[in-house]
Structure formats: C-alpha cells, structure tokens
C-alpha cells in the first residue's frame, strides 16, 4: 500500500506559480475577483507563499509553494464533527464537500493555512462552466476545500495499472498531480514515500531536505529541498 508524498525542490523553483494555476484549472477552483481577493478570500489549494527579507541592496526573497501537507498526524481530521475530512489508508487526507457543514474547525487547527472556505457562490459566467473537470466535484458555497493530491488522478493510474495487469510504477506517479506535472522547472515530484527506491523517497533523503513546522508533530508528507547548496 503506497504512502503518498511530495518533494518540492526550492532551488529549481522559479516562482512562476504554474503549480497554483494548474491546480485551479484541474480542480474547478472558482476565482474570487478583486474585492473578495482583497479580503483574503481567494481560494488557492496550492499557494505560493512569499517572504521579503533583508535590506537594499541585499534583499532575500523566499518562495514556498504550499499544497496541503497530508499530514500523517493530521490535526484537521481529528476535529471534524461530521467526518467530512479523514485520512485514508494511503495517507491522503480527504475532504468531502457534501458532508461539510462549514464550521471551519479544520481551518482553525491546520497550522499550514492549507484550507480554504467557499465564502461565495462560485461564479462561472457562461461559457466558463465548460472547462469543468468532470473528475472533480464543483463545490458550493459554505464548504471547506483543499488540496487532495489529485486523488482523481491516482484513481486513474490505479485503473490503468489494473487494466494492464501490473503494479503502479514510480514513473506513473512521479508527475501525477497537476502541480508536479506542470512545473516547468521540474521542481516537484510525487510518489510513494514507503518505496525506498521511488524518486520521492530518494529526494526526501537529500541533505537539503526539510519539512515545515516539524516540531508540531504533524508529520507532513510534503518535503522541501532548501535552495542552493
């Protein structure tokens, strides 16, 4: 049984935000518009977090693309009163829109601010609804949503493997998620953290590797590789 995880190499990352937009395209994420975005209501399952540090002429800009961490010890799934979010056997922390009652307890407990709330009824002025991905639900107002490691694509890969009578291979999944696939600089990789020979596992053993907020004990499954050497 695979344990799905992701590695993001911050050295390769060009801060282009392709991952952010690809994710929105793949997952039918509505846009908020200028007013709502200014209130912080724009929904990003993958967000590029930026920190500006330093003084002229030596500024340091740090870019961190942040999807859901799919923590092995996820705080969010512990507090959901209706089991709209829970972690499955393969380590994916799911989010079921039709169960969510919009209490947003999960958003309070997530230390990574990886979760978003649908404050608004999504607007898809015709003919924009034609671009909806049929494999992903279109959420309604009042529910929480977040990155699902493109579970719908994992499903397909499993089906294809089954059809061909074989196991899932590393090359099937290395660029499985929309963000990993689109990254122009090849900075993101997906795969089975329990397979020691998989690309993600090898990269996660790199000496540049770190995770966010490790001290909280969430056991996030997104591993970053520091910039430079």
């Amino acid at each position: 049984m695979p344990r799905w995880g992701m590695v993001i190499d911050l050295d390769r990352c060009t801060a282009c935000q392709a991952c952010t937009v690809a994710c929105r395209a793949e997952n039918n994420i509505p846009f908020a518009g200028p007013r709502e975005a200014a209130m912080g209501r724009a929904i990003f399952w993958n967000e590029l977090i930026v920190r500006l540090e330093g003084e002229h002429p030596y500024p340091e800009i740090r870019y961190l693309p942040r999807p859901c961490m799919h923590c092995d010890n996820s705080p969010c799934s512990k507090v959901c009163p209706v089991n709209a979010t829970s972690r499955d056997d393969e380590g994916i922390v799911g989010q079921i829109p039709s169960r969510c009652i919009g209490c947003r307890m999960c958003m309070c407990t997530c230390p990574y601010t990886a979760r978003s709330f649908n404050w608004l009824e999504a607007e898809w002025p015709s003919p924009m609804e034609k671009q909806h991905n049929p494999d992903v639900a279109v959420r309604e107002k009042g529910v929480v949503e977040k990155c699902l490691f493109c579970i719908h694509r994992i499903r397909r890969v499993k089906e294809t493997a089954r059809e061909e009578g074989r196991e899932i291979r590393d090359e099937d999944v290395i660029k499985l998620t929309a963000c990993c696939q689109t990254c122009p600089a090849g900075a993101r990789v997906f795969g089975d953290l329990d397979d020691s020979e998989s690309t993600v596992s090898k990269m996660a053993r790199n000496r540049r590797a770190f995770s966010l907020l490790e001290e909280l004990g969430t056991h996030p499954k997104v591993i970053y590789l520091r910039e430079r050497t």
Partner: protein, 208 residues
C-alpha cells in the same frame, strides 16, 4: 423535489427491449453476415466474418469512421465479447466498458445503425432521424440520478467486478417506452454492497 414517484418523459420513446433483442438474439449477427455475403458475392461467410474479427480485413478501422467502427473497435476486445450479460448494453453504452460515465449514447451512436434507410415506420424512428439529420444530440433526461459530487466508475463495476448492468439498473432492459421511473441512487445502497463484498469503503473512493 424529485422522489421515486417522479415520472420522466424522454424526447424519444426509446424501446430498450427491441434494441436489446436485436443485438442479443442474433438478429444483428444474421443481418450483417448476410450483408457481407451479398457484398462479397459469396455463398458462405468467411471465418473472420463469423467470428467478428473485423480487423483481419478492415485494417483502417478507426474512430474516425463512426458507423460500424464505433462499436466494433470496442468489440475486438475478447473479454467484452465473452460477456453475454452486458455486451448488448455496452454496444450502445460504450463508456461503461471503457470509462467512468454512464455512456448515455450520443446521436453518433444512433447514427451507426440508423443513418441509412428507415428500419421501421414508427414515429419515434422518424423523430430520431430528424436529430441525426441535424447532427444534433438528443436531449435525454437522466433517470438514474446520483449526486454530482460522487464518482462512480462503470468500468470498475462491469469490467473488473464482473457485474451485469441490471444488477443496479434493475429492469431497465425490460423498459419498452416512457414514462420511466426516476431512480435516485443513495449512498446507503453503494456502501451496503461495498461492505458486503469487502471492497474499498474509503471516502475518496467515491467522493470527488
């Protein structure tokens, strides 16, 4: 609010029994064998024709030619041909074998058989031919409802699990005409069957 009592009127009164019979009782097979014999000017049909091995002669069988190819490309798959319980359904509901969706046929599918001379003098067929002539998809109304948040894979059930269509869509193959009863599939029904058969009951198996 819809409930089990809701009756659905379809744009065309589609006779499932007639179509299923045509395909599963040998009528289609006999018709096409005769057609090949006539075209080829032969008294006996060849093995390839009898076994439905179209590719042996038609090596240009592609999706571009929707008529016979639309169905027969799929039917090159021996596993499908062996499934007497579903193959008549899959002939039109093609994506139930190859993918997730219900495969409610597009007008392209109807055209594969109804493009030439009318087969009957029924009003329904005449109405169908209007759609075909305009290349316009028929606005069918969904009678098996499921929440749009839910993913279900027909392929997984029919092809991998080996179920017959009628196991969930009971009696549909016996439906002669409209109105049809609306059938709302509940999570309870899915979960029960999944638990009984020890298949995955993780949320993300079904929820998009």
């Amino acid at each position: 609010m819809a409930g089990p009592e809701t009756q659905i009127e379809q744009p065309i009164a589609f006779d499932h029994v007639r179509h299923v019979t045509y395909l599963s009782e040998g009528e289609h097979r006999r018709e096409k064998i005769d057609m090949h014999k006539e075209i080829l000017g032969e008294d006996e049909a060849s093995e390839e024709v009898l076994q439905g091995q179209c590719l042996e002669c038609h090596d240009d069988l592609t999706d571009e030619a929707p008529d016979c190819a639309g169905c027969h490309i799929l039917f090159q798959d021996a596993a499908l041909r062996a499934r007497k319980d579903v193959r008549a359904c899959v002939a039109c509901h093609r994506s139930t074998w190859t993918g997730y969706s219900a495969g409610i046929p597009s007008v392209t599918v109807c055209r594969s058989c109804h493009a030439d001379e009318p087969r009957t003098d029924s009003e329904q067929e005449a109405h169908l031919r209007e759609y075909i002539d305009r290349s316009e998809d028929i606005p069918w109304v969904r009678i098996t409802e499921m929440d749009p948040h839910v993913h279900t894979s027909h392929k997984a059930h029919i092809r991998y699990a080996g179920y017959a269509c009628t196991q969930c869509h009971n009696g549909l193959d016996q439906q002669v005409d409209t109105p049809l009863d609306l059938h709302v599939t509940t999570m309870e029904a899915c979960i029960e069957c999944h638990e009984e058969n020890n298949v995955s009951d993780g949320c993300l198996t079904c929820h998009k």
